[in-house]
């Protein structure tokens, strides 16, 4: 079965075609990597899946339901969680409240009147969501930071918190945009292990856009490679490493090295 299917997605910015007829599939419980050199269009494609950019052509389905043109907030409620390359934590709120916002967004059935009148209903709903948030704190080993401002967290923990916040919504698919940026190699490794746990133990399908090849090779079950907006390869990490088109895209073709001017593509 397929969790996410993006078919023939094309996105243009003015005259530039950032993503050109790309098709990506994330199977149930899959762990898919999306890689490519700088400017390959990874983040653009990714934003189209998350609902932050509308594609010019193509169709995106999630669990068999077309989501091509529905707003980002609705996609989130359907079960698509995401993190951001440039951290987007709620900086002035506590670590706990960051998780609480997400848990409530997914779980709470509290209406606004009961909320601002502080009716008994509010307390039962709050307690229920607080448990979700507390459990997430526990499982991410973030208890020590419970009442700190999110903006004060070191970046390694901030990345974990951002992931945990999305997980509080119990998503079926996680979109992760360059989670290793700003992390050192040890932190990246630990983060990779956490992602494996999320994928295997919680059964969340993952689509990972990433620069760090070690991380991608370590955690992903299959890879898509984008170059200049086009898909140039698809396969297991082992197949991809050997793929000549991928090697050319990453390393440049051999005669490029000696050519006086950059080759036209």
């Amino acid at each position: 079965m397929t969790t996410l299917l993006a078919e023939g997605v094309t996105i243009r910015f003015g005259g530039l075609t950032a993503v050109d007829d790309a098709t990506i599939e994330v199977p149930d419980g899959g762990f898919i990597g999306l890689i490519g050199p700088n400017g390959a269009g990874k983040t653009t494609l990714f934003n189209a899946i998350g609902g932050f950019i509308a594609p010019d052509r193509g169709r995106i389905t999630f669990e068999g339901r077309e989501i091509t043109s529905i707003p980002a907030s609705t996609r989130a409620r359907l079960g698509i969680g995401r993190t951001f390359q440039k951290l987007e934590l709620f900086g002035r709120m506590s670590v706990f409240d960051n998780l609480m916002v997400a848990a409530e967004s997914a779980e709470s059935r509290l209406d606004i009147v009961s909320d601002i009148m502080s009716l008994p209903r509010r307390h039962s709903e709050e307690a229920r969501c607080a448990r979700i948030a507390e459990d997430m704190l526990q499982s991410l080993d973030l208890d020590w930071a419970r009442d700190r401002r999110a903006a004060d967290l070191p970046i390694g923990h901030a990345r974990i918190l951002e992931l945990g916040r999305a997980l509080c919504m119990k998503p079926k698919l996680m979109l992760l945009d360059e989670p290793s940026s700003g992390l050192d190699s040890d932190e990246t490794k630990a983060f990779g292990q956490l992602l494996k746990r999320v994928n295997e133990e919680m059964g969340v399908a993952i689509l990972l856009v990433e620069h760090d090849m070690d991380l991608v090779m370590d955690v992903c079950k299959a890879l898509y490679v984008l170059d200049f907006g086009r898909l140039i390869a698809h396969g297991t990490p082992k197949e991809i490493v050997k793929d000549p088109a991928v090697r050319a895209a990453y390393l440049g073709e051999e005669d490029d090295e000696t050519a006086p001017a950059p080759a036209q593509r």
Partner: protein
């Protein structure tokens, strides 16, 4: 045809003044990132100095103008830059907005204090008489003179920017302040010079305008700021030439309007609103990048070390104590005390509406008088025309303001920070000139009676009505912040993108919070009218919205306690002013100064200081009661790099 050419030249002449002014405004905005809402009040203040130098000191008009424009105004600019704007550098633009609103209030107050607020006509710089242009068109020498001076000043600035070394530094700072700093340009000097030039242009604007208009403290500053912002918005405050063109355009449009559509009715009022309509359209249809760029939804400020919330019990105890003391005031103290606090607490209701909007959700509104007025007039009409019971009319008023709030909230999805401040200010002025100045709505000279509820007619009794609403709204506001909705608002304030990614319907919540804020402001507006027992065309002037914003900031804009502190502060101040009437004259100055200083020093305002003091006292007391050995060990956070 001759009439048309004459109208055109008239338009260009007045337009060139607006153009000059908007160039000055944009110059300071681009070099320092602060949009000066106090521009009109600066022009007012400097022109009063000019007036004094010519009329009272007897200097020749030309000499006095030169002294004011070339010496006095630039010194004010340099002083403001060094003492205020450098200190709030790097803060979100909303802080700059409130700080300059404080300046507006401050300079307006200085004029009130020194010159007593009477209006004057200022002698023209130019000789009387007319000039015959080729083609038979006749225009006044003064108009020609204004045109020449304005063009020369603008060309001078242009040449300075283009051909001097200083100009290169200027342009570098304008295009990227940080990089310019790294390249070894003294950005502080440049921004000081920019403020000097900006203030000089403000003064020149006043000196050129006031022979045509009156030098009037109520009329001139809003007039200037309206036309200047309207002109500057044409280039989205990014481009000096476009700001200049915008000024000329507005001048011509205004002249044509006056010449050909002399209507006194709705059309005439629309002509007053012309710049505001331009601002609204420009802001709402601004390119996405501009509406959101550099502004950010967030209102994150450098707060000092105290963060975190008081415990629920502590909050309840303090709240209960304060409200009990307030409830005892009419019984225990003289009528003058309760009357002073009555006004303060009524304003406190309005401050609460600002706290939930600005403090909780990080959005700014300079247009809350619109909500107050809509509610006030709705309640007054409900009672007068439909004989609705007065208690119900209070709520009808509040509810009447909600759709207007919803509308602004809906726009706020597209527009953030500085542009939202502009939008809401324009909204307040438009509602004022289109509706509140309409005699059918505001009842002409006498206004419309707005009686207090039966049984609460007396001042002491009515005090309890106001206190009741203040308590009710405080509880709602605290519930709002501590509950789910408050968390969502805070989340949206910190990152709208992340909020969307968590399934939060940003639009819904913005519409909601603006609606709720409008409701509270509306009820506050009805109560405010009830103090005066009438709602009239002068009850809800837009200036009040700016003034309220400054007091709310002095009290503390981030928390309910700040709104109440602001209300009590106003009450105490009014009471003290009974003893020392002098205080009435400097009220604007003190609060204007207070708001700017608060933002430069301590964004949490009076309430923040009180909490800090309270926390210090609690610490000292608990230290005394607990022996050192029994003190809990400080938990060491693990896992930190």
């Amino acid at each position: 045809m001759q009439i048309f050419i004459r109208t055109l030249i008239l338009g260009i002449a007045s337009g060139s003044i607006y153009a000059l002014a908007s160039t000055g405004l944009v110059l300071t905005y681009k070099t320092s990132g602060v949009l000066n809402f106090g521009y009109g009040a600066l022009a007012l203040f400097t022109t009063y100095i000019h007036y004094t130098l010519t009329i009272s000191a007897g200097l020749p008009v030309w000499l006095s103008a030169v002294i004011v424009v070339v010496v006095v105004a630039p010194l004010i600019g340099i002083f403001l830059d060094a003492q205020l704007f450098r200190r709030i550098e790097g803060q979100p633009q909303v802080i700059g907005v409130i700080a300059t609103v404080g300046l507006f209030v401050l300079f307006r107050g200085l004029v009130q204090l020194i010159w007593g607020g009477t209006s004057h006509s200022v002698p023209s710089l130019f000789p009387p008489g007319t000039v015959h242009l080729p083609g038979g068109t006749v225009i006044g020498k003064d108009q020609l003179g204004v045109l020449i001076v304005a063009v020369v000043a603008a060309l001078g600035l242009g040449a300075m920017l283009r051909y001097t070394k200083m100009g290169v530094a200027f342009r570098a700072v304008v295009s990227n302040r940080q990089v310019a700093g790294l390249m070894g340009i003294n950005t502080g000097f440049v921004s000081g010079l920019a403020w000097a030039i900006g203030c000089a242009f403000a003064a020149l604007t006043g000196v050129l305008l006031t022979p045509i208009l009156l030098l009037d403290p109520n009329y001139l500053p809003p007039f200037i700021i309206a036309f200047v912002l309207g002109a500057a918005i044409v280039g989205y405050m990014r481009s000096l030439p476009l700001a200049y063109a915008g000024g000329i355009f507005i001048g011509i449009a205004q002249a044509i309007f006056i010449q050909y559509i002399r209507s006194q009715g709705l059309l005439g009022r629309i002509s007053d609103s012309l710049p505001f309509i331009m601002i609204t359209l420009a802001v709402v249809f601004a390119p996405r990048a501009l509406r959101l760029a550099g502004v950010g939804a967030s209102f994150i400020v450098r707060t000092r070390e105290i963060v975190g919330q008081a415990s629920k019990n502590a909050r309840a105890t303090v709240g209960l104590t304060v409200f009990t003391l307030l409830a005892l005031v009419p019984a225990a103290l003289s009528l003058s005390w309760s009357n002073a606090l009555l006004i303060g607490l009524t304003q406190g209701v309005v401050f609460l509406s600002l706290v939930i909007l600005t403090g909780y959700s990080g959005q700014i509104s300079l247009g809350h008088t619109a909500f107050m007025g809509i509610a006030g007039f709705a309640a007054a009409h409900a009672v007068q025309s439909w004989h609705v019971p007065i208690w119900i009319a209070i709520f009808i008023g509040g509810i009447a303001a909600v759709p207007a709030g919803n509308l602004i909230g809906f726009i706020a999805v597209r527009v953030h920070g500085l542009y939202l401040a502009l939008m809401t200010l324009a909204f307040a002025f438009m509602v004022d000139s289109l509706f509140f100045q309409n005699p059918t709505i505001s009842g002409g000279e006498g206004g419309i009676p707005l009686h207090r509820p039966g049984g609460f007619r007396g001042d002491r009794a009515f005090y309890y009505v106001v206190l009741g609403f203040l308590i009710l709204f405080s509880i709602i506001a605290v519930n709002l912040r501590t509950g789910r909705t408050g968390r969502v608002l805070a989340a949206m304030r910190d990152s709208e993108t992340a909020s969307r990614s968590l399934g939060i319907a940003v639009t819904k919540y913005k519409v909601l919070i603006f609606g709720l804020s409008a409701f509270m402001a509306g009820v506050g507006g009805v109560l405010y009218g009830m103090i005066l027992q009438q709602a009239g065309s002068r009850t809800y002037i837009p200036f009040l919205g700016l003034f309220f914003m400054t007091i709310a900031v002095v009290g503390g804009i981030f928390q309910v306690g700040g709104a109440i502190a602001g209300g009590i502060l106003t009450g105490l101040y009014l009471k003290l002013a009974d003893y020392w009437p002098f205080l009435n004259k400097i009220q604007l100055i003190l609060f204007g100064l207070g708001a700017t200083l608060a933002l430069a020093q301590n964004p949490e305002g009076l309430f923040g200081e009180l909490r800090r003091a309270g926390a210090a006292i609690t610490r000292t007391m608990s230290r005394r009661s607990a022996s050192p050995r029994e003190r809990a060990p400080v938990p060491v956070a693990g896992g930190q790099e």
